[in-house]
Amino acid sequence: MSFKKPINHHPKLETNKLGLTRRDYEGAVSTLCAGCGHDSISAAIIESCFKLNIEAYKVAKLSGIGCSSKAPAYFLEQSHGFNSVHGRMPSVATGANCANRDLMYLGVSGDGDSASIGLGQFVHAIRRQVDMVYFVENNGTYGLTKGQFSATNDLESKNKYGEDNLFKPIDLATMAIQLGATYVARSFSGDRDQLIPLIMGAMQHKGFALLDIISPCVTFNNHDSSTKSYDYIRDHNEAVGKTDFVPLGEEISTSYKEGSSTEISLHDGSKLALEKTDANFDPRDAGKALNFIREKEKEGKVLTGLLYINDLAKDLNETLNVTQTPLSQLQQDVLCPGSKILDEINQSLS
């Protein structure tokens, strides 16, 4: 028995503007448990990159430690990658981001990596507005160490062995809105129709984009008393509306009910079209968004979709006025101003 995915693809498989098929964006075959939500997210990332005609060599995948952090091996085989120390992915991303503004940064992390050991790092990456897509593949459990509770596990959610959870969860999405993240969405690995436009929007967004994706752990947290199981999320999922990603130069083709549609322009000229289900909700108003999330939480719902967006904020590199040229490409004559300038500086000090 071979576990290699055969190289054959469907002869009629669609190609994108680069002449590539979806299969060209794949990575190694996953070694995660069969049915892991993380694999669905990898597939959604593959689909998004395919649809956005992204060239793999212009992407850097960064991760820490955990099941989620293994995932970058399973997509975009030809991209750059850095697998860092536990919880330290945001620092590496920050550095890389300043060193080369040309790449797109995909940080892949989990609830353990971001809400526990790396919480301090997570917070500061948002505070500094690092231009990246930050995926939290959130399953509420430490799958790699046999299913202990993680910091995002809901209070009422027991573990696989029936033990109670004693502590309240951290909600990374509301935290990110409060800290000033400029693109915050929550989604579910099992709802690809919702997830893919959100990932595409995040990839085209300039600034820190957080995707808190509930991703069931089939081995340790997919039981009846779990609040992060496939069944629970399907029963309690409430979307803020339907999000469509509209690429640059294309018109919105879906028709919406009058008054319910919101159009949000992204940095590169592409658009997100949002059909809201509730008039009280506005993703461009952080206060309203937070209230709405809390309301739904009280109702026992898991609110998903694009929760908050601000496309006007400055990112880290703009704030620091970092050079547009990647550091690796800066030549000696640019980096060293020469003795004449040095003399001028010295004289100005005397």
């Binding site: 028995m1 576990f3 995915k5 054959n8 002869p11 669905s40």
Partner: protein, 670 residues
Amino acid sequence: MEDKKYLYKRNNIWWVKVAVPKSQRDKFGYDLRQTTGKSDLNEARSVRNHIVESLKSKFSETEKYVPLPSTKFMEKTNIDNPQYFHKVVDCQYACPAHTNVPEYIRLIAQKKYTDAYMLNWESNVFPGILGRVCDRPCEPACRRGRTHEKSVAICRLKRVTYDYKDDVEKYIPQSPKVKNGKRIALIGAGPASLTVARDLLPLGYECTIFEKDHKAGGLMRTNIPSFRLPADVLDEEIYRIINMGAELKLNSYIEKLKPVIDDYDSVFIGTGAPKGKDLKLKGREISSENIHIGIDWLTSIAFEHVKKIGKKVIVIGGGNTAMDCCRSALRLGATDVKVTVRSPFSQMKASEWEIEETMEEGIPILDNTSPKEFLFDDKGKLYGMKFEKMQQVEADGRKKMQSTGEEITIECDDVLLAIGQENAFPWIEKNIGIEFGEWEMPVVDKLTMQSTHPKVFFGGDSAWGPENIIWAVSHGHQAAISIDNFCSGVSLKDRPAPVTNLVSQKMGIHEWSYDNDVSQEKRISVPHEELSKSLKNLKTEVELGFDEELALEEAQRCLNCDMQTVFEDDLCIECDACVDICPTDCINFVDNDVEEKVRDKLRVPALNLDQSLYVSGKLKTGRRMVKDEDMCVHCGLCAERCPTGAWDIKRNAYKESHTLTNKIKAKEVA
């Protein structure tokens, strides 16, 4: 003018002809003629009107009950229907004898050649013969032709089972000592009759085979040259059946059928299509010395009556017989052999590989060349033929051949005519209850092979005209079932169901009992004897067959289409793992709709309408799992990556029932 065409006389009887529209023929048959007994046009008209009216009312009845397909949502696929998974195994489904191809290819890979041979023998009876000269309907059907470039060399692998098997005699069932008292006459010792004998002998039937020639084998012996099919292979597989206990009467031409019918409990006619078509052109009547009917000429070579031919030979015709004729002529000393075909090259009837081999031997094929006249000198000796060049034109949406006006003359010493074969039953009396229909062909039931005389069955080429060996075998199996039913007083419609067995291949975690690696090797071509050697001797076999190493490599190309992906609705948690892992994007979770729309909304639209969609019941989210069977490479990764075992890989062993399997089963139950 009065239309009298539907009133006609045949065999001294007046008939009224009523043809059924093409679209309705599956349901109502081809032709609903009735006899009026006399040549009365008025009566004929009223009979005809009556038939037409009753037929029309049947049309509307059936239409009423069939809802329009475009408004009906898809239903859950019934995988309990043995034909569903059978159809997924493209090669087995395409084979008239439904040989389990993937299974014997796996056995070859395991070097179990004897087992592989017996598996073939059970369904197609002549693995050694068919492994060389089968028409191979399986190969164009092979899934690999869709997922990769070329199909698996199924036929060549079949030959491997013959070439490398051990002694199989101990596995061959014998006729029991105590017979069941029924005597069956089989007329013609070709593949159809031999198959019937093989199926009936172990049940205790006494089978007598009548053959007009002095050797058994029928057209397999007389019309296939020995450089393609050596005589020892033929003898071995024919006598394997005769030795089971059949009585073979050689040199026994049946001149009258009636006495045979009276003498036996049942009669099977497998006399082939033995009459080669003649070409009645200008000059044909002058002399026939150097103009030969292809199949008769091949027969004369097979029986060594003909040992040479002129230097320059023209072969007329584009079928397999033409290919055999020109290659035989080359081996009998001709130096300049040409084949002329009336149609364009691309529409030649001969099998692709036979055309290839012909051309490899340096024989030119002149297409769009239609014969016009035989040319003779003053002494009445043939010296050439006149042809006219043709072109294909399209008129009224149909392709038609039209003369370009250009004429060419080709010199020759001999002409071989290979323009088709016909059935001929001069020995069947006209008034014994065997009805003949259009083209003087017997009226034979498509399912039971029974003629209009209940005791008489037809099969092979004699039933519906020239086909090929594998069809004759298939007819033989069906006729044997019918004869067995007939002699046991069971309704002929009561036929044994196919035997299927669907077994999970899971052996443990990450452990499946088959090799799922998809080989990327190109199709391996079979080694040939050097031309300098093979052209010298008529009996030197051209194809050498695969050796064990090549056979293994070719066997690895098989995609194991019998390893079925089986989906259990209740277990699915819709995690999409199967969707993501499927290399060919077969698996989808979509909302139900009418078939056309479902096909359209899959990740890769399912445009190959010949291939089924596997549709689950309603899942928790209301969606359905829809798998397009078209491009599945049976890698099993969907089952491997399924967390709940909703997908399983099950081996589907499908076997058509023969009389033999039926009786063995009955015995087991008892």
